[in-house]
């Protein structure tokens, strides 16, 4: 089957295509005529001020929130028109890292990581544990943390566990909601590097909501800016610095933006 999650086969359709999306709550229009295309293998950062509906956009793409109008195509299929079974199959092709981790508090770290495996794969328990441990190692977790409870973990370890869980089925598409929020700068930089490395070697497409300018410069191929209820710009960060849109200008050329720019170029040279 050509749809198997695999780096070998590369179906042509881009992972995410959003056309004319409109999200409305009562009289409050969050998105109107929003268009966004993400190409395969790209790491795209989504930025926007508070209340511009970044999380609403993510929920719409994940199928958690039905849009008022418009179409969302994942791998060429309109997710608003999928039936239960097709949606499940689609969901096995993407992984999500929620903002606060969303680990199941009743389960240990390794059990959390293996939840998608128990749902989708038919493996022996020992084999499943090995794959879970392998994903933990990939996500940079110490393997002796396997039997800890989520309540015993630090913020960085919660994020890494959630990343290991998001990656356990080797998704083609990875959604990250503020992955570095609440991490110390060293942990955040390590997390950025990890995501970049994984996306390169596993050919992942990454859709990342972030406020962290350092992350944008370090790992994003492109940045999509949400403002005025739509995506006003989609370009690499170095291009967006030159933008004359007031919010984008302020964002990239404010005091924090400038310090990240210098660091970003410093890394490159």
């Amino acid at each position: 089957m050509t749809e198997a999650p695999s780096p070998v086969s590369t179906p042509a359709a881009p992972p995410i295509v959003i056309e004319g999306l409109r999200n409305q709550f009562g009289s409050n229009i969050v998105h109107d005529n929003l268009e966004l295309t993400v190409e395969r293998g790209k790491v795209i950062g989504v930025v926007g001020g508070s209340g511009t509906g970044k999380t609403v956009l993510l929920n719409s793409i994940l199928g958690l929130q039905k849009p008022s109008k418009g179409a969302i195509h994942l791998f060429g299929k309109d997710i608003t028109r999928l039936n239960e079974k097709q949606l499940r199959l689609m969901q096995s092709r993407f992984g999500v890292l929620f903002q606060s981790g969303a680990l199941f508090s009743a389960l240990s770290v390794i059990e959390n990581v293996c939840v998608p495996l128990t749902e989708y794969a038919r493996l022996k328990p020992a084999q499943m544990r090995e794959i879970g441990l392998m994903k933990m190692a990939l996500a940079g977790l110490p393997l002796d943390a396997a039997d800890k409870r989520p309540s015993e973990l630090s913020g960085g370890m919660i994020k890494r566990t959630a990343l290991a869980r998001a990656l356990v089925l080797d998704p083609e598409l990875l959604f990250l909601d503020e992955p570095t929020a609440g991490l110390d700068p060293i942990g955040a930089a390590a997390f950025d590097a990890l995501i970049r490395e994984l996306s390169d070697s596993l050919n992942l497409t990454v859709f990342m909501i972030t406020h962290d300018l350092d992350s944008l410069y370090a790992i994003c191929d492109e940045v999509a800016v949400l403002a005025d209820k739509r995506v006003v710009a989609q370009a690499p960060p170095s291009v967006l610095e030159q933008s004359d849109h007031p919010w984008i200008h302020e964002y990239f050329n404010g005091p924090r933006g400038r310090s990240s720019q210098s660091r970003g170029t410093g890394d490159a040279s």
Binding site: M1, T2, A4, P5, S6, P7, V8, S9, S92, S105, A106, L117, Y120, A121, R122, L123, K124, A126, Q127, R129, E130, I131, L133, M134, K135, A137, L138, L143, D144, A146, D147, R149, P150, S151, L167, V168, L169, D170, L198, D200, S201, L202, N203
Partner: protein, 377 residues
């Protein structure tokens, strides 16, 4: 989705065995392919891998392959297919570590008897500590209550009144309806049994004594324990999880003043009233059945009730209500304060609160029943 599989060929003249992988070497397609490959390659000297007919490959497949290849697991095997090589390279050094970690956890498993003894010891220690914590909590509450009584300025009236409304009078309806039915059922069964001795009229005394002394107070307390002990634990526990209790402490607000004393006072003040209303509903339920079954009207019922049911029954019934109120508040609030940061502990403490509160109510009821046994005036 096709299952992961492989074919092994030994070309004539060549030393190397050629393994051609087929199907999906992914978490979903893998099943037992890795183990089969491992046993097939046991005696192999040199291996080459063909990946042309592979339809899917992910890190789980790479892991199984790495485990199967063992010492032959060199990156050079995948020189023809760089994308598969990249996935494989990611896993190459991780796999031995995972195997080691698996071994380590297998070795760590302690002797089951020692593990049980250790758990028993830990439980005992926790139980003793819990008992100590309970005493500290009660001490705090007594001090707070005493200070509030001598300096009423400390009392926070808004939460007090809100709790009276919510925890107290909010339960009026359900307490009355439940008691009505309980009274009716007692009357029904009582009449049925007493009629056999031609003493059906004694059903009135039966209703009066059982409802006023036992059923009215206990049913009201059990219902309020179910409603309020759980909601106290959930409210305070959720505040604890949200760091609201810490925020209060930092601002110099004592949570005992702000949260717990209002709940205690509200239940002590309202539960007797609710219980009284419930007892009356129980008597009314009994009366309806007596009237329907025996034809004794309201006049007869009220005279018989006042003349033959001693006042002590009502007294014994009402005297335990404040004790119930105190038990419900202490259990509900203390377990709420015990909630730690995770959601599971909130659920567990709410369950414990309801079970402990109902158990304690029955216990108090039994103790009071023994104390007032034979008491008469």
């Amino acid at each position: 989705m096709s299952k992961a599989d492989f074919k092994i060929e030994t070309p004539p003249g060549g030393e190397a065995r050629v393994v051609s992988l087929t199907g999906d070497w992914t978490a979903i397609g893998l099943r037992d392919a890795g183990e089969r490959l491992k046993s097939a390659l046991k005696s192999a000297q040199e291996i080459r891998i063909e990946t042309q007919s592979l339809t899917g490959f992910d890190t789980a497949g790479a892991y199984a392959l790495r485990a199967a290849l063992g010492e032959h697991g060199d990156d050079a095997l995948f020189a023809d297919d760089p994308r598969i090589g990249a996935v494989y390279a990611l896993i190459r050094d991780i796999q031995p570590k995972v195997v080691e970690a698996q071994k380590a956890t297998a070795q760590q498993k302690p002797n089951p008897i020692i593990a049980r003894l250790a758990r028993l010891g830990r439980r005992t220690e926790e139980g003793l500590k819990d008992l100590g914590d309970l005493n500290i909590f009660i001490g705090h509450l007594v001090v707070t209550a005493f200070l509030s009584i001598i300096t009423p300025g400390r009392i926070r009236w808004t939460p007090l009144v809100a709790q009276m409304q919510q925890a107290g009078f909010g339960s009026l309806m359900v307490v009355c309806v439940t008691n009505f039915f309980v009274g009716a059922v007692i009357a029904f069964l009582g009449i049925l049994q007493l009629q056999q001795f031609g003493a059906a009229v004694f059903a009135v005394e039966l209703i009066g004594i059982s409802v006023l002394r036992e059923f009215g107070p206990v049913i009201a307390a059990v219902l309020i324990a179910g409603r309020s002990a759980s909601s106290f634990t959930a409210e305070i526990g959720a505040m604890k999880m949200n760091q609201e209790i810490s925020a209060m402490r930092v601002m110099g607000i004592n949570p005992f003043d702000a949260l717990i004393f209002p709940r205690l006072a509200a239940l002590i003040l309202t539960m007797p009233l609710v219980t009284f209303a419930g007892s009356m509903a129980g008597l009314f339920g009994g009366f309806v059945v007596v009237w329907a079954q025996l034809g004794y009207g309201p006049h007869f019922f009220s005279i018989r009730m006042t003349e033959y049911v001693p006042f002590v029954n009502f007294f014994v019934g009402m005297i335990k209500v404040p004790l119930f109120a105190i038990a419900i508040t202490i259990i509900g609030c203390r377990l709420g304060m015990n909630v730690t940061e995770d959601v599971i502990s909130l659920g567990r403490q709410v369950t414990r609160a309801v079970v402990q509160a109902i158990f304690t109510i029955i216990l108090i009821d039994a103790i009071v029943a023994m104390m007032f046994n034979g008491f008469d005036f």
